[in-house]
């Protein structure tokens, strides 16, 4: 694409025009010529990202796997597009006055795909499966601190006895720990269950050809009468994002998520396609470092670097103008987002002063580890140029993306970049990253005030009171700079016009099960 020097005014106008067009494209399906209800039948073909290893939700690690799990399984409770917890397999629940017992009433007449009954025993079996340390489920960590025991009151009532009041429990049960698998099938298939999953979901597995495709078909005995609308769903593995997008354009697939921002402007002319942008974006990028050892145990130094970064430039260059600068670890639009919070801005003069205060008036140099992909290398180059302005230099060390996270965990990596997606409960992310006991706390961040705020907030069920605590926590965390928050990124889905009822859930996992295809 040729780069023409334009004066800034038309650049603004062009960007506004793009935003307007994107908004129109997103809203267009909401105004159909003749408003129809759901249309039954058809096969939805999805351009799927690779790397799916298991379809057992209690062992699922890869994003791609959950695209399928949400169709084959149900969770105990669900999430709507506003990220609120709503009934699913549990049709109602009550919290005891002391907050240490949650009672769920379950839907009746629910069957697993293998014909066995879903009931309170099944729920108990599932939770115990996750909690059992011998099973080594990665989903144990969100549940173990909270759940003492699960008891069956009657076939359709299950009771969670908690070790302490724990408000985040419900949101956790809407995610991977909450998926309910068929105990009969899991016991029978053992390790093979991940290959041949059996749940209560609207679709059941027909076949899974690894690295090729997954085929699901409608489960006729699904408990939600009238759903699903589609007959079949086919996930076709397409590793290359450009090819994925091409296939939506040729009509070989109906929908693809995980689209690169750079490909979006090129779709402007295509009337057969709908582009859906997740607004506001619920994923943020950041820099992280170890704050419990030199050189970054120096708060003034951390603040200096945070002030020197021009997030708007990062957004414009890396995200093609989509997304927005990040203020803190909370994406906008969530019930615990503080609209008044500004975060650390961009101020080069203040940065220089902070650097001097930190004792590095003559400049500072440190190693920076980056994942060896074009996108992150690009970001690092931009950061390098920005930080040069305050005389901070980066010694760039590329590492394999596969090893990047484990190196951080093993403390082989100090200063690097990272990204995280929001969970349905504020505790889901803030605790694991910023509490001194959080299991994903790889910065060594330990602020007793933050610990106290997070512990308090997790024990209160009242959203209003929790919100105030999370506002305070966000401010303190951002000010302490264990992470330098960069941008809230944009996420896109591209589909052909026949696909109806699409909507993003802020955990950025596409929910395909309620879609239908126009004829």
């Amino acid at each position: 694409m040729k780069r023409i020097q334009r004066p800034s005014r038309s650049r603004v106008a062009r960007r506004l025009g793009l935003l307007l067009l994107a908004a129109l494209l997103v809203l267009a399906p909401a105004f159909p010529v003749d408003a129809q209800g759901p249309v039954r039948g058809g096969t939805l073909r999805i351009g799927w990202i690779p790397a799916a290893k298991t379809l057992d939700p209690h062992y699922s690690v890869e994003f791609s796997e959950r695209y399928v799990c949400y169709l084959v399984f149900n969770t105990l409770v669900g999430l709507d597009r506003g990220f609120n917890v709503v009934p699913e397999l549990a049709r109602a629940w009550q919290v005891s006055p002391d907050g240490k017992r949650v009672t769920f009433q379950l839907q009746r007449g629910v069957k697993f795909h293998d014909g066995t009954d879903f009931n309170a025993e099944a729920v108990k079996w599932n939770i115990e499966r996750i909690l059992n340390p011998e099973n080594k489920s990665p989903q144990r960590a969100p549940l173990e601190p909270a759940i003492a025991a699960v008891t069956v009151a009657d076939p359709h009532t299950v009771v969670f006895e908690l070790k302490k009041p724990f408000a985040p429990l419900l949101a956790a049960l809407a995610e991977r720990p909450g998926f309910v698998v068929s105990p009969t099938a899991a016991k029978q298939l053992g390790q093979e269950f991940g290959q041949r999953p059996v749940g209560t979901g609207p679709f059941r597995l027909v076949e899974w050809v690894r690295d090729s495709q997954v085929t699901l078909e409608r489960f006729p005995d699904y408990w939600e009468k009238g759903k699903p609308y589609l007959d079949r769903v086919v996930y076709r593995v397409v590793p290359d994002p450009t090819v994925r997008l091409t296939m939506v354009r040729t009509g070989e697939v109906d929908i693809a998520t995980d689209v690169d921002a750079k490909d979006i402007p090129g779709l402007r002319g295509d009337a057969a396609l709908v582009v859906s942008e997740m607004k506001p974006a619920a994923r943020w990028t950041a820099l992280q470092w170890r704050v419990d050892e030199p050189p970054f145990n120096n708060k003034a130094l951390r603040q200096a670097i945070a002030l020197a970064i021009d997030r708007n430039e990062l957004r414009d260059v890396l995200l093609r103008g989509f997304g927005e600068p990040a203020r803190g670890p909370v994406s906008p639009g969530l019930w615990w987002s503080d609209p008044a919070f500004r975060g650390i801005g961009h101020d080069v003069e203040a940065a220089r002063k902070k650097l001097a205060e930190a004792g590095h008036a003559n400049g500072f140099r440190a190693k920076f580890v980056v994942e060896n992909t074009p996108q992150w290398i690009r970001q690092t180059e931009l950061l390098q140029a920005q930080l040069q302005k305050i005389n901070v230099s980066l010694d760039i060390e590329p590492v394999s993306p596969a090893d990047a996270y484990s190196r951080i965990v093993q403390k082989k990596t100090n200063w690097t970049h990272t990204r995280w997606t929001q969970r349905a409960d504020p505790n889901g992310l803030l605790y694991i990253l910023f509490h001194s006991k959080g299991h994903a706390n790889t910065t060594g961040y330990n602020n007793p005030k933050v610990d106290e705020l997070l512990d308090q907030a997790a024990a209160i069920y009242d959203t209003e009171r929790r919100r105030a605590l999370y506002y305070a926590a966000e401010r303190t965390i951002t000010d302490d700079v264990p992470y330098v928050f960069l941008n809230y990124t944009a996420e896109f889905a591209v589909m052909n016009r026949k696909v109806q009822n699409w909507g993003w859930v802020p955990d950025l996992i596409p929910r395909f099960r309620d879609l239908w295809l126009e004829k």
């Binding site: 080594k136 990665p138 090729s212 290359d240 394999s400 596969a402 996270y405 484990s406």
Partner: protein
Amino acid sequence: MWVLILRRVAAMAFSILFLTALIFALMQAVFGDPVVIMLGRDADPDTVARLRRDLGLDRAAHVQYADWLGRLAQGDWGRSFRTGQPVLAAIVARLPVSLELAFLALLLAVALALALGIVAAVYPRSPLDAGISVLTAFGTAMPNFWIAILLILLFALHLRVLPSSGSVALLDDPWGHARAMVLPTITLSIAYLSNLTRLVRTKMLEALATDYVRTARAKGLREGRVLWVHALRNSVLPVLSILAVGMSRLFGGAVVTETIFALPGVGILLVDSILGRDFPVVQGIIIVVTVGVFVTNFLIEIAYAIVDPRVRYQ
């Protein structure tokens, strides 16, 4: 003959031993920790430690290797760390796709290389020869994935005659299967085809300049007979050698092609296993590929003996 086979098998066994030990040592030295990759960012340290213990990854490297070797001797190839599938079953499930792709690419490459190479040799320094030279230079220099994307954009997006990616089982839909294999085959064969064409051309030119060809022409033989029976047969030997090398490379898994066209072959499995630090699968693939290389080399040796009456083995 049997002694020859026995010697080859012994060499193969030794190679497998050596290669697996070497790769294992390399992986231990260079790779990160598979357990964190397997359990993801949410797992607590206790779960990570347990899994590491269960998989035996907390033992010394040589202990792990010896254990793996011991189980292999009993026919147990182990299970994939990432998927839990038995290793041999996982690899065997992928082989047909890779073998078919390699075979078709080879067929196309050899057929076209012979045709173009001979034509270029018969009309040297003509516009046709120049054109073929340019094409082969292009084919050698351009990266695989770039050619693949171009082909997809042309045939799938603009002309809409072929699918962009994906595979269709042969038995389900033979015609669809054939269509799905066209672009991957072309992509995989291009670099190989280009090299082979140049080689055929050179060797043919050499053969056509020899005394015996001149004699044959002087005797009044038809040009066709001169070409096919005399010149080609003698220029084919070095081509066979290149063929052996090429087949081994193709057999190892055409990683880029398989990735772009989403063909579930051994190549993709190998890359995913390396990235996922899935030691058992990587070791398993090394064995399978080594066996394949040895077998194809052996077949080429037999072919040599058939084609060249001067070659005889003890």
